[in-house]
């Protein structure tokens, strides 16, 4: 039995409505940002005379150049280091058996559902003692720890899906375990690694509570979301268009990457979710 025309029409109407619902709040803040304060914006705020002046004002007043730079440094380091570490842990859990492997993997799994909110209090006081509060390290180290949990789970799933015969053959040829990883498996792992990097970069870029607690004291180390939070608190009552422009600046890098790599993002989040 094939679907009737009416069914099809209903399907696409419903899907379109929900897709618009998902996009609209994002567009609304973009529209608002394209206005200036003197426009006295209300309601749907279609920008008939788009102006970039709010962006310019937000960029200079909120010092978002610094914020975006900090976010980029932190997210890039966290992404690269956790990808390398997860490659190792995933390789071990996915292709080797050793005493306590199931138990230990369970410990890593815990890190995925675990509310990291519960770790910020000691992180603050411990980092104060180490003297790394208000440095990039205070954001980088804990986020590597959190990302490795998901990364281990994700890369293990990849390594388990590779044909064991491939690894066996390389081992018979006398390749060391490191040789097997680098020469045989790594070339195939690129899509899985790219997905992992995209997700870790996004999560790290968007992170807020850690930045609020660990780098609030140093304006030059504040990440873009933290800068936005402070900027909004100071400016919103006076000029919401500037806050909107700042919001667009903070979200834009991720949204642009997402549009190009959407398959990777969605695959990672769905597969990660279902297998978990």
């Amino acid at each position: 039995m094939t679907a009737t025309r009416v069914e099809r029409a209903v399907t696409y109407t419903v899907l379109t409505l929900f897709a618009i619902g998902a996009i609209y709040p994002v567009l609304s803040i973009l529209f608002l940002a394209l206005h200036t304060k003197s426009d006295l914006v209300t309601g749907f705020a279609w920008p008939t005379d788009p102006s970039m002046s709010s962006f310019r004002a937000a960029w200079t007043e909120g010092d978002f150049g610094t914020g975006l730079k900090s976010s980029f440094i932190v997210a890039a380091v966290v992404t690269v280091v956790s990808a390398v570490l997860s490659l190792g842990t995933g390789y071990a859990f996915g292709t080797m058996r050793f005493r306590g492997d199931r138990w230990l993997f369970g410990v890593f799994l815990l890190g995925i559902i675990f509310p990291y909110e519960a770790t910020v209090i000691p992180l603050y006081y411990d980092f104060q003692d180490f003297g790394i509060l208000n440095t990039y390290w205070s954001l980088i180290l804990p986020q590597i720890g959190q990302s490795v949990a998901f990364g281990t789970f994700w890369m293990r799933a990849f390594f388990r899906s590779t044909p064991p015969a491939l690894v066996e053959a390389a081992r018979m040829d006398g390749a060391s375990s490191f040789g097997v990883l680098v020469r045989v498996l790594l070339p195939q792992a690129r899509p899985a690694l790219l997905t992992l990097c995209a997700l870790v970069f996004t999560y790290t870029w968007n992170e807020f509570l850690l930045a609020l607690v660990l780098v609030s004291g140093s304006p030059s180390k504040q990440t873009a979301p933290l800068g936005l939070s402070f900027f909004a608190g100071a400016v919103r009552a006076g000029d919401p268009t500037k806050v909107a422009a700042a919001s667009v600046l903070v979200a834009a890098p991720i949204v642009i990457v997402y549009i190009f790599l959407q398959r990777h993002f969605i695959r990672g989040m769905l597969a990660g979710a279902v297998k978990g």
């Binding site: 897709a19 998902a22 994002v26 309601g43 492997d101 509310p115 909110e117 909004a232 978990g276």
Partner: protein, 314 residues
């Protein structure tokens, strides 16, 4: 699977080769594995597990973060159980679960029921749009919705345009509407995830199952309950776990959209924990709230997983 390969190999090769193959086979315990695990484990242990343990330890102390703390046993926990703000925070979280978890899952299932009657062309586009909210930083999400809910924002303008102006209000500043309004933000963030999760799952249900149901004369409703829903059980469980955890965490949006207000009407545990630790300097008490929150999340996730795995056997 790995052990099978080793066994096959063994049967095909000579005795000497067999011994060597077995020594290297992936099925055998391999100490070299630790070499690959230790670096990752070190970071995870030092910066995630150790702080969690430290939080538990702090929760037994009365400490202001500066002077010497006093061990008070379960004192913080006793106080938390009697603290009306702790109870309110968890009650608010429970209400948010309706918006963050139940509503998106229900919406996702309803749509899947409509959509699985035939394949969807152009799904990639819809999928990309529906998933967009997941990509946006919580701080930005909060700013977008502060504008949507604002006195002169799109929502109130819309209500006035359609003649429901009497309903218009500054949503996030309203004592009885602020929490549901925050919940609405949560629904927006998660419904696309649920929809994509379910629709993707449903597209992989073999068409023969639907044909069989239709031959048996099942209508759309029975088809959904007999075929679609059982096939999507894993996805539904996962969606519940993910969205419930999100509801219980939800710090970014609350902090930036309402700061717990008006009054304390949108306080949630993570926000109250933050206030205690970094505003009121009640570090031990904040740690106790963090421990209770962690326990609540593990318990809820455990219950959902337990119930779903019991269904597997039945």
């Amino acid at each position: 699977m790995a052990t099978d390969t080793a066994a096959q190999l063994g049967s095909e090769t000579s005795a000497g080769d067999r011994a060597r193959a077995r020594k290297r086979a992936p099925g055998e315990p391999r100490n070299v594995a630790w070499l690959y695990i230790l670096p990752g484990l070190l970071f995870y242990g030092l910066f995630t597990l150790a702080p969690l343990a430290h939080t538990v330890e702090l929760s037994f102390f009365d400490w202001d973060g500066l002077t010497v703390g006093h061990y008070i046993g379960l004192g913080n926990y006793r106080e938390a159980l009697d603290d009306p703000l702790v109870r309110d925070s968890f009650r608010h979280s429970a209400e948010l679960i309706v918006f963050y978890a139940l509503l998106p899952v229900a919406l996702g299932l309803l749509l899947t029921a409509i959509l699985t009657r035939h394949p969807v062309r152009g799904f990639t586009f819809f999928r990309t749009a529906l998933f967009l909210p997941q990509m946006i930083a919580g701080v930005v999400v909060a700013q977008a919705w502060v504008w949507i809910y604002a006195d002169n924002g799109p929502l109130n303008e819309f209500l006035r345009d359609v003649g429901l102006g009497s309903l218009a209000r500054p949503w996030l500043g309203d004592f009885s509407w602020a929490l549901p309004a925050v919940g609405g933000i949560g629904t927006w963030v998660t419904y696309g995830l649920c929809m994509v999760l379910f629709i993707a799952g449903a597209q992989s249900i073999p068409a023969s199952l639907y044909d069989a149901a239709r031959v048996d004369g099942a209508g759309a409703v029975r088809e959904f309950f007999a075929v679609t829903l059982p096939a999507l059980r894993n996805q539904v469980v996962v969606a519940f776990v993910l969205t419930t955890i999100n509801a219980l965490r939800s710090f970014d949006v609350i902090y930036n959209a309402t700061s717990g207000g008006p009054g304390t009407t949108t306080y949630v545990p993570s926000f109250y924990m933050y206030r205690n630790a970094f505003v009121f300097n009640r570090v031990g008490y904040a740690a106790a709230i963090a421990v209770i929150l962690t326990a609540a999340i593990f318990t809820l996730a455990g219950i959902v997983l337990y119930v779903s795995s019991r269904g597997d056997e039945g």
